[in-house]
Symmetry: C2
Subunit: 277 residues, 2 copies
């Protein structure tokens, strides 16, 4: 790699949840000072300032706001809960618009009290209910397939194929797919699916981290790029070959890293990004 | 359910690992006294008596030996380890034959130091190396697809489709598939895959337990039937519709249940089997 490529951070984005201990202002300043160019904002990080002011802080800090995380969680055995979930998603769309985020990521949800098929029908109904408003506001929606280990309570959409099928059902340019290597790396059909999704113009986001061996906690022990068994560079290659030109978004849930000095952790993120993705 | 069906234990099998604290003699006696008809033996349970004597204990106790668990673990970045794994699998086949077990279950293995594709090539080579001896000994081999949460170190075969593809590659009646609800319940294509596998005559085994919500430990917190979110009865229905006539094998890894009085636990297994599978 030549020296320029070695320092190319122009497509690096970090999720606020990755550096959860930092408030939004600090996160923006710390990301920008390291040459990180994008930020994906989790909804909790908007609460203190409100969405509009958060958007201004980000723009004035010199960062692109890549997406808002996260909407979804549509299924429930309880009709009232389903209705209030749709209201919550509509509110998230307003927040995304107010903050200037062009994309809302959907973790679609699951309810272990019913079959996955029923949950998927409710996901479909939920997307149908919010998609028109997303288009009005100019905010795209990305379905993120979740690893099958989360099929009980977090998502009944567990493969790229399922996410693409759901996106295609609606035939709207406002609906696409978010690819997170943690969730899909094991899938034999990943390369083919990314290719197919790219031909549709539906590759909306790319999240990176690593699968640690062993993984101590299935939710909050994700690894820094290079720490685990995922060939991130190879998957990134498939994304780019399929026409994806967006950010590489570092999204890491980790009790270990949240307990680290976040300045030091951000330096590690930049290094790991350059070396392993 | 009429009274007879309500007491139908004729297809109930328990894995020795489910009641790990019991030695083989005790397990056989306790299973038989409750009307359990089948036993699947884990290799550690054969060590004390040797395979031949273990087979006699089981037959004299009135139980069918359903399978031996487990072979597999073929992939490794190290050539010597791959060679010794094949030797270990050949030894397991002798044990199965000596004990009178008609089937050896394969947990195929994975090595996080190489790509899943490479691991699958090594799995293929491993099966190729042992299949002729399996046929000579009259011991069938069953590929068990493992949940994608185990894709890092335990198996690069994570869906029914992959297991069936691998089995079909060899075109041998000695090679089939073991379906464990814990590993495949989340898969949208499960019903279709079971159907397709059944048409091939390759449904060799059916393992049951439940996916607890939440799951405290991804390896050793499996649930008793009815305790989690898997619709076991529905999947069993697909198996039977596809021609499966074998045992329903209760395979539960659980620190919680291993710490319970095993007599009480066996009563719970029988009750849960009748109520939820």
């Amino acid at each position: 790699m030549d020296q320029e490529a070695e320092r190319d951070l122009s497509r690096l984005c970090v999720h606020t949840i990755t550096t959860r201990p930092l408030d939004l202002e600090t996160a923006v300043a710390e990301y920008a000072s390291r040459g990180i160019r994008g930020i994906t904002v989790w909804r909790d990080a908007l609460q203190k300032t409100g969405a509009k002011r958060a958007g201004r802080i980000i723009r004035e800090g010199g960062l692109d706001i890549v997406s808002l995380c996260r909407g979804g969680f549509f299924p429930s055995t309880d009709r009232k809960t389903r209705k209030s979930s749709i209201a919550g998603n509509l509110a998230a769309l307003e927040e995304a618009h107010d903050a200037g985020a062009p994309l809302l990521v959907l973790v679609c949800g699951a309810d272990p009290g019913q079959s996955p098929e029923t949950s998927r029908e409710q996901i479909k109904a939920g997307i149908e209910a919010i998609l028109p408003r997303a288009a009005e506001l100019g905010v795209r929606l990305a379905i993120e397939p979740l690893h099958p280990v989360y099929a009980d309570t977090r998502s009944s959409i567990n493969t790229m194929k399922q996410a693409i099928d759901m996106a295609r059902y609606f035939d709207s340019s406002w609906l696409g797919v978010a690819v997170d290597v943690y969730h899909v790396w094991w899938d034999e059909e990943l390369e083919t699916a990314i290719d197919s999704c790219g031909r549709d113009g539906r590759l909306f986001a790319f999240h990176i981290c690593d699968w640690k061996v062993p993984t101590g906690d299935i939710l909050n022990d994700r690894g820094l790029m290079g720490e685990g068994c995922i060939d991130i560079r190879r998957i990134r290659g498939w994304m780019e070959r399929s026409g994806f030109e967006g950010y590489n978004e570092v999204e890491i849930f980790s009790d270990i890293y949240w307990n680290l000095d976040q300045d030091r952790f951000l330096d590690m993120i930049v290094r790991a990004y350059l070396d392993h993705s």
